[in-house]
Symmetry: D2
Amino acid sequence: MLKGYTVPLTPEGASQLTPPPPWHYSSDCIAIEYWADPAAVTALLPPGLVPDEADQGRAFFWFLDWQFTGENDELTDPARYQYREAFVLVEARLDGKPVNFCPYIFVDNDAALARGWVQGYPKKLGSVFQTRSFAAPSAAAAPVAAGSRFGASISAHGERLATARIQLEAKVDDPRTVFNRPTIIRRYFPQLSAGKQDQPAVNELTLSLMDDLTFTDVWAASAELSIPVVAGEDMHAIAPLRVGRGYRFGMAYSVTDLPILKNYLA
Amino acid sequence: MLKGYTVPLTPEGASQLTPPPPWHYSSDCIAIEYWADPAAVTALLPPGLVPDEADQGRAFFWFLDWQFTGENDELTDPARYQYREAFVLVEARLDGKPVNFCPYIFVDNDAALARGWVQGYPKKLGSVFQTRSFAAPSAAAAPVAAGSRFGASISAHGERLATARIQLEAKVDDPRTVFNRPTIIRRYFPQLSAGKQDQPAVNELTLSLMDDLTFTDVWAASAELSIPVVAGEDMHAIAPLRVGRGYRFGMAYSVTDLPILKNYLA
Amino acid sequence: MLKGYTVPLTPEGASQLTPPPPWHYSSDCIAIEYWADPAAVTALLPPGLVPDEADQGRAFFWFLDWQFTGENDELTDPARYQYREAFVLVEARLDGKPVNFCPYIFVDNDAALARGWVQGYPKKLGSVFQTRSFAAPSAAAAPVAAGSRFGASISAHGERLATARIQLEAKVDDPRTVFNRPTIIRRYFPQLSAGKQDQPAVNELTLSLMDDLTFTDVWAASAELSIPVVAGEDMHAIAPLRVGRGYRFGMAYSVTDLPILKNYLA
Amino acid sequence: MLKGYTVPLTPEGASQLTPPPPWHYSSDCIAIEYWADPAAVTALLPPGLVPDEADQGRAFFWFLDWQFTGENDELTDPARYQYREAFVLVEARLDGKPVNFCPYIFVDNDAALARGWVQGYPKKLGSVFQTRSFAAPSAAAAPVAAGSRFGASISAHGERLATARIQLEAKVDDPRTVFNRPTIIRRYFPQLSAGKQDQPAVNELTLSLMDDLTFTDVWAASAELSIPVVAGEDMHAIAPLRVGRGYRFGMAYSVTDLPILKNYLA
């Protein structure tokens, strides 16, 4: 009997890229609000999503240090399951409601890549860093406090794709005033058989369902963000025209389900 | 209009993990023939494949330095498209015919990971090395000649999964006496929606079709191979009980199609 | 005018591997007390250090997530300056006084490697991970609290050199009851000129002077530690015969000076 | 008795970063002739070197895939000893004679970093790639033949420092018409003791002595090269104002000695 939520399938099931849900996550996050060319944002939306006319071109660029665990203490195997991530969320409307859509996302770990593909996050590999806040007082500690400066960056294939810096200003009492849209993604898996290479086997609009979503210690900050032109990457098309507020916070949630909003193949 | 053979789908299509076929490959390869526990090999076979009773437990462990190109000179962007790979092929029968099946495979590049998933290769990330043969004469050159020694290794998450060493003995005139079985793989993509997490969205037995398959400069060698026990990996269940011949050679082929042999969902 | 505390020396001084002191550090640490073969520990001591007969073979294995800064906000460039480290400290005596000596140390960053060589830490590159404690509550968060489990590992060249796991039990009120010995290192730089290759250019016993050394949130833990046999590394000679207590804590200090205790060339 | 040509020094001597000389090397190389701002080149020269007035600002940017061995078959441990490198050589005069000087160099391996520091190469870590030439015919093979295109790149800390492309045109009969200058480097090791941090412990002008230097299969090519502005690196000061010929070839040599040309401390 072969076991595995993902490949490789084996009799023991230990080799699978990721254990099955539930998946539990906790993270430190830096997110930067910005505005891109509205036409470039619109051009990235999948069928069914329309531009959010209320605040055109608004987006958030996120950097995350993640810890993952399933049900077998995976958090104590950090070489295999701890990871870093960067992504952009652009604002849109689905059936009239405000949502985020994720067109670009990078991680540094294959288990995270596999979970992302299964959900609909279009993950590629990248090298992600963010300034951390350490408990032991020092000029190097970057405490979560007014005046602290944090940097963050994402690179892939040795090219810098985005760089950010923020300086903390004030605690945000109610994070839901900032982070309050559901995230929509597109689950997509191609075919390779001749004549079907333009017909994906899986093509669905999905909701990134986050159980027990928690934000902690949310601070607002002044912010800088750059998304340079890089050969072989299209992300610069939604480079910032204007940068808004930065945020630094903790976030946790669990994943146990994936609502399918549309099946494009039906 | 969104473009992309794989995600991410973008208006320009430059961000996709891999361009669409045709995919062209050339490689330097080290392969080691060995025999594992026949029961452990049988336990890895997907439905429809049966043990090859003719030579039970026979397998080959491969290490490959790959160069990839599509139709846009991708070989001149080696930071993005050059990669290294290691895999094991176990021998089996499909409808009475001798075939290979690939239960474990590792690469160091996300484009290669994506292409593998689309074909049915159960790729995970790893760090792969093999001694190379250089043209400039030196004690360090490892020429393709009798007596030359080559080493190879695959590691993932900082754990050594296999180590090999070979010493070249004699040229093989007809490589088809050694490499003559088609490779069968399992194309598999999970669902995450509640209640369907044990029902994959894609579950097919496929043939790894290799157009214009070419072997060059095939040398036979004495060989050593170890596959140690590693927590979180099942590959040691098919560790060598006996090691046969090693081989060092060049190999090239193209991919334009993927025959589906069985659809397990039908 | 060429500038640089280390190479490369340039007119602008931006390319230097590390800025000059002061160097400020803050870290999260996991340390495991253990006992190795006393003869193996003694065999690693440089001239002038003698075994500590009080508790023979006692050592600590450390894993550290570090943030570094100099005087130019280097902590906001984490891709360049944030790093991870693992090392072992063995106990010894110098002029009758209890000290630690560092025979093995690994980092994942070249600036840290360079600073280490300049001080006398015999740094090599490695890949280091430890479970982190995140603020947002989750099964993945690993809070600093009784019962939390942390893992840690160090690998180099794809070989696992040490793996540890701890489970927090109780806060330590006075960290100086645990960490109270100065660390002695050996500053060493070879010559390559023919006839002098066994005569280092620099060969000194030094004190790793830590200004404003601070420990925070020190917890004691039950602990496991393994240091397996790996080809090409000698560290397994001081593998644990017995494992004592584990500790998890924050640590910060600054470096501005390096006392030279002995010049072996004088 | 502690053993080691470099640290770590151990009773067995297996942990040392690099074995002692002789060091044997073979490589595949891509080198691009170019001209930088002569004042920027002059500003990088150490005391004793003067600009080469004959052809001001001339430099070569090199990319190398290296295989290393000492006397113990190190080439069969490629995970530890195979590496990639990129460097720039600027032209200068020493005592009236034409020489090259190496101001910037990057490698992806700690053994190579250590050997470089000991010689006087100011090595930092980087990620280096070049298109390889494979024996098995394919659109991906990049044979060493007229019309073949090769790419190469060097990145550090996720920033692209240089990118090159060449297209082979014609074989070079006598490589010494192209590569005929000795390479001069600066051996430099700092002090950290208070009051001496601007007085290096080792500060010498040295000759990179290459025994049995051999060039093979040298081809000339058309070439492109870019060295972009990157924060935290000064190399862009010698970015190309004009690009000349490209070259692709094999090179081998051994290192057994290091002539000291000047001791700046004497």
